[in-house]
């Protein structure tokens, strides 16, 4: 557990270079910020401003070119790829714009997948996955494959999967980007509920102000830099 007051996420001068045909493209220019446990943060910014790049670094899917990243006091830059995998499995949940469910697996098996990599036995993980699906309101659809589910239902399965191993943080990159406003609202209600009731830290990228309004803090990116970091009340005002 975190020592009281210490941030769950702490990045210092984070930079990311992408090699391109025309030399190196720098997508992040010295991003420094802290996120405490239990926060609900929205990240906004124009297309190409580096939001996804930043999320991938926070989610330990990618490594920064320069700068440091401490997750729960651990220097992520020093971890091996196996340790990063374990971190992604236990501490982090992802929700993507495109859902990223495995199309050949049922909803239940998709949700059980992270538990398999956590080393849980078949029966136990199916039980836990079923419970998780019930919490997102899809207990009846556990044996449907993603193709047999609507976009909103698929995203709820993805949320159940992200929460299956009871992680402390959820990173969601435009989770409502493919959904209409009604289903977007359902998905956001789910997120808020888990944040409020379970204290799960939420970092969410969105282009829409009404989605960002669910968060209590809003960070704005522009050209790879943080240009604004404000509390929710100011955004709503």
């Amino acid at each position: 557990m975190t020592t009281p007051g210490a941030p769950l996420i702490e990045v210092e001068n984070l930079e990311k270079d992408y090699p391109t045909g025309a030399g190196v493209f720098q997508a992040l220019h010295g991003v420094s910020l802290r996120i405490a446990e239990g926060e609900f943060v929205a990240i906004m910014g124009a297309s190409g401003s580096g939001k996804s790049t930043f999320m991938n670094l926070l989610g330990c899917l990618d490594r920064p070119t320069r700068g440091s990243y401490h997750l729960d006091g651990q220097d992520v830059g020093r971890l091996s790829s196996d340790q990063l995998a374990a971190l992604r499995n236990r501490e982090i949940g992802f929700v993507f714009q495109g859902f990223n469910l495995l199309p050949k697996l049922t909803a239940l098996d998709n949700v059980a997948l992270p538990l398999m990599y956590a080393g849980m036995g078949r029966e136990a993980r199916r039980r836990q996955a079923q419970a998780m699906l019930e919490r997102v309101g899809l207990g009846e659809r556990s044996h449907h494959t993603p193709l047999q589910l609507s976009g909103g239902q698929q995203q709820r399965v993805a949320i159940a999967r992200a929460l299956a191993t009871r992680p402390r943080i959820i990173f969601a990159d435009e989770p409502t980007g493919n959904l209409d406003s009604e289903t977007s609202r359902q998905v956001m209600d789910l997120f808020s509920q888990f944040n409020r009731e379970e204290g799960i830290t939420l970092v969410l990228v969105t282009h829409e102000a009404d989605i960002a309004a669910y968060a209590r803090r809003c960070i704005r990116f522009q050209d790879g830099r943080v240009i604004e970091d404000v509390a929710q009340a100011e955004v709503a005002a």
Binding site: S81, D82, A85, F94, M116, Y117
Partner: protein, 407 residues
């Protein structure tokens, strides 16, 4: 990650692409079936050769009348064999020799009741039974006394007994060999095929004296077409051969530099050559079949590579939710192994079934040994690991973020 989860994942992946998995396995099925079948045929042939060699008798020489030219052809010696009964007796007295039997071979028609049968007739002595390791199914072999007095007695092989007598007991019956009446005094125990494919049970043995007088009506008495000799042991074969050569050259008064009028052949050595020929043949068959097994393995590698490329996004998703590199490696390796071992299992069924059919329909002797089954399983396992490893490592080496971005 637990092993059963890996198997479950592999099974799921393979059953979602049934047709593809089936076709990939087909290469292994055909390879394993071919290896099992070829080994079964080769080992069956070897077993047959081995039993023929055993039935021939051990540590054998055949001494033939007449020389053999350097090219291997018999030099014509007219109708007069150079070997005599006395030569055979003298050879028996050599220190390394156990038994020595002069033989006068020929063909003749046998008649019993209304039935007649053509077979090969050997005029010989009781030593022949020793040399050829013949035992009796019933009755007894003729004696030296029978040979001395030219008794009209015969010992018949199992095939002759069956053809002439059916279920009747042949011992004590009179048969006609080229019109001359002979009393059957014994039936030989069955030996089966000889190395050159002849049925050794289709034969009649009579005293050599009676054969020459009553059957072949030879003008030159006391001469034998060949002499069969058994040495005391395998170790003494070379010494025995040398002393036989020396003895016969002096008995036939062959001077230095003159050609022999006889030929000594080491039959046991010839049989060993035949045995090693079949061994090489069966190895060759197995090797050719093994090539198809390797081709099957390459098929697995090919499909696994396609599969890794196709499933890059899936790999990315698995990594994002916590799969370690070794989990991904195992996933693809187990898939390849499942393909190769399943293919192997089905191939074994087809191979063993095919061997059974070959035995049933073609009458060839086959032998599916536990060793060849174990080898097929082992090789399939190695093929799965060998050809599955490269695609699996490629999958495990993917960068999570690149894999996730791929379409």
């Amino acid at each position: 990650m637990i092993f059963t989860s890996l198997l479950e994942t592999a099974w799921h992946a393979l059953t979602t692409h049934r047709m593809r998995s089936f076709l990939t396995m087909l290469g292994m099925v055909i390879g394993v079936a071919a290896v099992i079948l070829m080994l079964a045929i080769g080992q069956g042939a070897q077993a047959m050769v081995r039993s023929s060699i055993e039935s021939m008798g051990s540590n054998l020489f055949i001494i033939m009348s007449g020389a053999v030219s350097s090219g291997g052809a018999r030099v014509a010696t007219g109708d007069a064999p150079s070997l005599t009964f006395d030569d055979a007796d003298a050879i028996r007295d050599l220190p390394d020799i156990l038994a020595s039997a002069p033989v006068s071979p020929g063909g003749a028609q046998l008649i019993y009741g209304g039935v007649n049968w053509n077979t090969s007739v050997y005029g010989t002595t009781p030593d022949y039974a020793v040399v050829r390791n013949w035992s009796m199914a019933s009755g007894s072999f003729f004696s030296d006394a029978d040979v001395r007095r030219g008794a009209r007695v015969a010992v018949i092989g199992g095939v002759v007994a069956r053809e002439l007598f059916g279920d009747e007991d042949p011992v004590g019956k009179i048969i006609r060999i080229k019109q001359a009446p002979f009393e059957v005094i014994g039936v030989l125990a069955s030996k089966g095929q000889s190395l050159d494919g002849r049925d050794q049970d289709d034969t009649v043995l009579v005293p050599i004296s009676s054969a020459q007088q009553k059957i072949f009506s030879n003008t030159l008495r006391n001469r034998a077409r060949f002499i069969m000799v058994q040495a005391v042991s395998e170790k003494r074969m070379d010494a025995a051969e040398a002393s036989i050569n020396e003895l016969l050259r002096s008995r036939h008064r062959i001077g230095l530099g003159q050609d022999d009028d006889f030929t000594v052949r080491n039959l046991t050595a010839l049989a060993e050559t035949a045995a090693s020929t079949t061994r090489i043949m069966s190895l060759l068959l197995g090797a050719i079949a093994a090539i198809s097994l390797v081709v099957g393995g390459i098929g697995i590698m090919n499909i696994m590579l396609v599969s890794v490329t196709e499933r890059t996004r899936e790999i990315g998703i698995r990594m994002a939710i916590g799969a370690r590199r070794r989990d991904v490696l195992w996933q693809f390796l187990i898939e390849a192994l499942t393909l190769s071992l399943f293919g192997c299992g089905i191939g074994l069924l087809f191979g063993i079934g095919g061997a059974w059919l070959v035995e049933r329909l073609a009458g060839l002797p086959v032998a599916v040994t536990p060793a060849s089954v174990l080898m097929a399983v082992g090789v399939s396992f190695l093929i799965g690991v060998f050809f599955g490893f490269y695609p699996a490592r490629r999958a495990a080496g993917l960068d999570p973020i690149d894999a996730l971005r791929s379409q």
